[in-house]
């Protein structure tokens, strides 16, 4: 059996993929909150 077919290889790949997914999700949340903070006052106080 090749190493790439082994359970250990799949376990490590899955853990890496899950970690990347969490990091990307955290970035999305961070960008969203930072956008709210940076826009916040400017949007509320805008003139039409």
């Amino acid at each position: 059996m090749d190493d790439v077919d082994s359970d250990e290889f799949k376990r490590r790949r899955r853990r890496r993929s899950v970690a990347i997914a969490w990091a990307l999700a955290a970035l999305v949340v961070l960008f969203f909150i930072v956008t709210l903070v940076r826009l916040g006052g400017n949007v509320a106080d805008r003139t039409f």
Binding site: S6, A19, V37
Partner: protein, 321 residues
């Protein structure tokens, strides 16, 4: 014979590990988490000591970028130094020498995180702090790791500038400017770095000599290194008190920095006087351990004073900077 078999078995394990790819923990180890902690901590101190308040969300975002930038620089350092890391006791168990992470993966990881950290800091906070972070990563990898480390015993003196930048970046993130005040914080870490690393090099000089890294004890000898450590410590002790005179620290900080600085000199004197056998080994090891505690406590006091107003806040400045 047994050694050869053991060595072959280790090589096989390393090769197998490389085929399997690293685990998440191996990639985290590439980021040098302990260094990252001190970087974030000093960056936070610079941010909190700044005269302008930064929104907590932006502060967290900035610290995250500083942490990732520091980790990325660490990963690139481990990639470039993998050959010597493998032959040094202190670093042989790092992910690349152990075969857990490939060279190409480490360099890609470091570059992607560097660019990501700088871009995110620029877009989310400000471009001055992002430019300082980019310069710091570039200096640490390009100037210190690739050039100075293997070519001069002054490697960590000049290279220390990279490790001294986090308070300046934190200050720039909060104020979008750099004044002389954060430069004082920079100078404290800059002057602290040589005695810190030379104390380590004194009891690890065999390691450095074996791989040809010209650390001070290897090139100039232990006596000269101990003298240099003492000189830097004598400069550091009063320099550590300066924030109290420029409106950065209060009474609490002044007292703490004076006591901590005096203790630093005591440990440096012991390191200078104890030159033989186990006591000399112990003295340099204790100085190294204390130097980490010194920097942590110095910035912790600054942080606590500013964040919680303990000690009545900063003293009126003798000099305006």
């Amino acid at each position: 014979m047994a050694d050869i078999s053991q060595s072959q078995a280790q090589s096989y394990d390393a090769a197998l590990d490389a085929t399997l790819g690293g685990d998440v923990g191996d990639y985290l180890a590439l980021l040098k988490p302990r260094v990252m902690f001190l970087v974030v901590f000093t960056g936070l101190a610079g941010m909190v000591a700044a005269p302008e308040a930064i929104h907590p969300v932006l502060a967290i975002a900035a610290l995250l970028c500083i942490a990732v930038g520091s980790g990325a620089a660490g990963a690139l350092n481990m990639w470039y130094d993998a050959d010597i890391d493998a032959r040094m006791t202190r670093t042989a168990s790092r992910p690349i020498p152990r075969g857990r992470v490939e060279h190409s993966e480490a360099v890609a990881f470091g570059i992607v995180l560097s660019i990501g950290a700088v871009m995110c800091l620029g877009l989310m906070v400000n471009w001055l702090s992002a430019a300082l972070l980019a310069g710091t990563i570039g200096f640490y990898v390009g100037i210190y790791t690739m050039w100075l480390k293997r070519s001069t015993p002054q490697n960590i003196v000049i290279g220390g500038a990279a490790g001294a930048m986090p308070p300046v970046i934190g200050w720039a993130a909060a104020t979008d400017s750099v004044t002389l005040a954060p430069i004082v914080l920079f100078l404290i870490i800059f002057i602290w770095t040589p005695p810190h690393f030379w104390a380590l090099a004194l009891y690890r000089s065999g390691d450095y000599a074996r791989v040809g890294v010209p650390m001070m004890p290897v090139v100039a000898g232990e006596a000269a290194t101990r003298r240099q450590i003492l000189i830097y410590s004598l400069i550091l002790a009063p320099l550590g008190c300066v924030p109290a005179f420029i409106g950065l620290g209060g009474v609490f900080y002044l007292a703490a920095s004076a006591v901590l600085g005096a203790l630093f000199v005591v440990f440096a004197v012991r390191c200078w006087r104890e030159r033989e056998g186990d006591t000399s080994y112990r003295a340099s090891k204790q100085l190294f351990a204390y130097s980490v505690l010194y920097l942590f406590l110095l910035f912790a006091v600054l942080l606590v004073e500013h964040a919680f107003g303990i000690g009545g806040g900063p003293l009126p400045p003798l000099w305006t900077v």
